[in-house]
């Protein structure tokens, strides 16, 4: 058999914890279980190290999954656990993190993780040292009918804090009653209770962390009556946090989504300054608007390379005349250019200008909050007013677009749609959740069409400018250029299809039902 293959083990387990601190009452637990089962197992605990892995934005955690790398004296193992206690396990030789899901050993575990993690890398989130004892519960035929793992976890040095010991009763297929019975016996044993939190949550809590503490979304709890300036400062501070927290991931090139999220934080900040900045001191808006434009522009070349490289596999798969292999020189060329752009961006993110910008911005945002803002619009009024304006702007621009309008008019509309989207998101906590979701869905359908139109155009133009550059550097054989031509044709078709769809999408967005929803949303805010 090929070594290192990944295989699936499905097992359902029931988790318990020992509420009382102090030495493990293993003897007592064995005695209680012995009433119903023959209890076998090693009395000597095995020492293993568990490292929980997740994406930076906790995609597995949010999906109710946990992924552990378990290392001991033997080969390591990955264990993916679902909400129902079902497990997939995979042997894993390497334990180098971060790692994209594509770097996991092939098999069902990788497939399941990849479907959730997407483009995001898996990072170690918390590690513990576990002393694990295993008990086997046997029936009268000496057949194992349930397994119990007793796990005493501590944080590694220097923290070293102990975590409440846990017991996982795992069913053996075809013997569910035995595991249930063992569970009942355990809960009747002093100090053993059904676990209130997962092992990961217990480890995170002991380490002073919290799961799902980062999201790329805007999460700013606002109150309708709070001063608008205070609300705007809170929104901008969250975006600054999001920006800063992504810098390390960009510098270390962990995955492409750090830069994506950083750019979104920059764009949201710029939109907030443009549409809501009037409630802040004037000089503040002026100074930082130009700094954030600089930062946004600085990040664009690397993001463009990322988008090209990420979209190539799916585009290559749709090639008809050319072969995906013909694009290898293009991938190599783009990869080299990406490395150059990454160096440039790293220099910018390590520059004194960047440090001063984020430092001064934070200080500036904290000042007006501390001073308080009795005058000026309330958060709800500000939200209603700015959302209405942004919506009206989108309707006006979109209505003026005809079949003969230049591509630029759609690009401008796309920017205004993004602004509307961000304003909606900033004040999401003030909106009726159902109405908000419906308005956002209306807008998203339009944005998808505009995004497809512009992205296709930008990528097509990029390919057309790359071809002569690669030719000049003798970096592209004829077959590559022909394949690139086919890619450009593909993009052209996509762009035309998006353009053809635009009128219908916009009509639906701007139609009576959409307008009514938006009116109801903003009326709720101002009322």
């Amino acid at each position: 058999m090929p070594d290192g293959t990944v295989r699936l083990v499905e097992a359902r387990s029931h988790e318990f914890e020992i509420a009382d601190p102090g030495p493990l009452p293993l003897g007592r637990i064995r005695d209680e279980l012995a009433v119903a089962f023959t209890v076998a197992g090693d009395r000597r605990a095995k020492r293993i190290r568990r490292t929980w892995l997740d994406t930076f934005d906790w995609r597995l955690y949010r999906a109710g999954l946990t992924l552990q790398y378990v290392g001991g004296s033997g080969p390591g193992e990955l264990v993916l656990t679902g909400g129902g206690g079902q497990q997939l396990t995979a042997r894993a030789r390497q334990a180098r993190w971060p790692c994209l899901s594509g770097g996991l050993p092939p098999g069902p575990l990788r497939d399941r993780v990849a479907a959730v993690a997407g483009l995001r890398a898996l990072l170690p989130r918390v590690s513990v040292v576990s002393q694990v004892s295993e008990l086997w519960l046997l029936n009268e035929d000496d057949k194992t009918v349930a397994r119990i793992a007793v796990d005493a976890m501590t944080l590694p040095a220097p923290q070293g804090a102990a975590i409440a010991a846990r017991l996982a009763v795992t069913e053996v297929r075809g013997y569910p009653a035995a595991a249930r019975r063992a569970g009942r016996i355990l809960t009747g044993t002093g100090g053993v209770v059904p676990s209130r939190q997962t092992a990961l949550d217990a480890a995170l809590s002991a380490a002073g962390q919290r799961g799902a503490d980062y999201t790329g979304k805007v999460v700013v709890p606002l109150l309708p009556a709070m001063p608008g300036a205070e609300a705007v400062s809170a929104i901008l501070l969250q975006q600054l946090d999001a920006l800063e927290v992504n810098v390390d991931g960009v510098l270390h090139d962990i995955d492409t989504e750090f830069l994506h999220d950083l750019r979104i934080a920059v764009r949201r900040t710029r939109t907030a300054l443009k549409l809501l900045g009037h409630v802040l001191p004037g000089e503040l808006t002026l100074r930082f608007a130009s700094e954030f434009r600089w930062l946004g522009d600085t990040t664009t070349p690397l993001r463009d390379r990322d988008v090209q490289l990420l979209s190539l596999p799916s585009m290559a798969a749709r090639l008809v005349a050319a072969s995906p292999d013909d694009l290898r020189p293009l991938v190599a060329y783009l990869t080299r250019r990406r490395a150059t752009e990454r160096q440039k961006l790293s220099r910018a993110l390590r520059s004194a200008r960047f440090d001063a910008m984020v430092g001064d911005w934070r200080k500036a945002l904290l000042v007006p909050r501390a001073a308080g803002h009795a005058s000026g619009p309330r958060a709800a009024e500000l939200s209603a007013d700015r959302t209405r304006r942004a919506h009206a702007r989108v309707l006006r621009l979109g209505s003026a677009i005809t079949a003969s309008s230049p591509a630029e008019s759609l690009h401008t509309l796309r920017k205004r749609c993004k602004e509307l989207r961000y304003v909606l998101e900033f004040f999401a906590s003030l909106h009726d959740p159902q109405l908000y979701a419906a308005v956002l869905a209306d807008l998203k359908r339009l944005q998808d069409c505009l995004g497809e139109f512009q992205d296709s155009e930008v990528q097509s133009a990029e390919i057309q400018s790359l071809a002569p550059a690669m030719l000049a550097r003798q970096a592209a054989p004829a077959s590559t250029l022909l394949a690139m031509g086919e890619l450009a044709a593909q993009l052209g078709t996509r762009q035309r299809a998006a353009r053809a769809e635009f009128a219908d999408r916009f009509a639906r967005f701007a139609g009576g039902a959409g307008r009514d929803r938006m009116a109801a949303l903003t009326a709720g805010d101002s009322g």
Binding site: M1, P2, T5, V6, R7, L8, V9, E10, R91, W136, D141, D142, K143, T144, E171, V172, R173, G174, Y175
Partner: protein, 248 residues
């Protein structure tokens, strides 16, 4: 999902011990493995300490009123499950005869398990029957244990001719010498000569050793309770050959 079977018309030639040990070794190598004990005597089931009883018996399984997955039991070994034997399997022939496409019924019953297992091992009862014909149609590889004797080869040739008469996909046959007594000159000669002459006979062979008989006492596969024994090594060699044919 690959399906293999141990089959011989004769009984007592080492079919069940091979099925049990090879299933164990496959699971140990990381394959999600299911062993279906089709023998009403349920010796494989006994060796895994599982009770030889399937709710609804062979009628429920063959008619599909009870899915195979509901009858499966986990063994004491990771990745290795067992579909137990049941005395009612003795009438499986009659039930199959009444089913649609009677020679492909087992194959159809196994198909929903394709996502759950990498390997299914069918331990077939000794006979020429509709059950064995089903097994020959369901499996991609048939392992045929042979006692080293000239007449055994006739059995293999008859089986080869029978399989060649199938319409559609035909299983590959791989015979191996079983219950080899190296004190007997004839055994030694046959075991050394024939695998070099015939591609359908494995180089690995299984000796007649007391430790294999002890499986019924230990109620466990040989590599689990006597991992360093010559018998365990011989099954490992056999599994290496089978695995190579099966998975490349």
């Amino acid at each position: 999902m690959k399906v293999i079977a141990t089959y011989n018309i004769k009984g007592g030639v080492g079919k069940t011990t091979a099925a049990v040990n090879l299933s164990y070794l496959a699971a140990r190598d990381g394959l999600r493995t299911l062993l279906w004990d089709l023998d009403p005597q349920a010796a494989a089931t006994y060796m895994f300490r599982v009770r030889a009883r399937v709710k609804g018996g062979s009628r429920a399984l063959i008619r599909g009123t009870r899915g195979l997955d509901e009858a499966i039991k986990g063994t004491d070994f990771d990745r290795l499950d067992l579909l137990p034997g049941d005395f009612t399997y003795h009438n499986m022939d009659l039930l199959l005869d009444g089913a649609k496409k009677p020679v492909r019924r087992l194959s159809r019953l196994l198909s929903p398990l394709a996502g759950d297992y990498d390997l299914v091992v069918l331990d077939c009862p000794p006979s020429v029957s509709l059950v064995s014909e089903n097994v020959l149609h369901a499996a991609g590889l048939i392992l045929v244990p042979l006692i080293p004797a000239t007449l055994s080869l006739r059995t293999l040739d008859q089986l080869t001719d029978f399989v060649a008469s199938f319409d559609g996909p035909r299983p590959e046959l791989l015979a191996f010498f079983s219950m080899v007594d190296r004190r007997k000159r004839l055994h030694r000669e046959i075991v050394e000569r024939l695998p070099t002459q015939r591609a359908d006979i494995a180089a690995a062979s299984v000796p007649a050793l007391a430790v294999i008989e002890r499986m019924a006492v230990q109620r466990a596969p040989v590599p689990a309770f006597a991992p360093r024994s010559p018998a365990a090594r011989s099954y490992q060699d056999l599994w290496a050959e089978v695995g190579k044919r099966l998975l490349g």
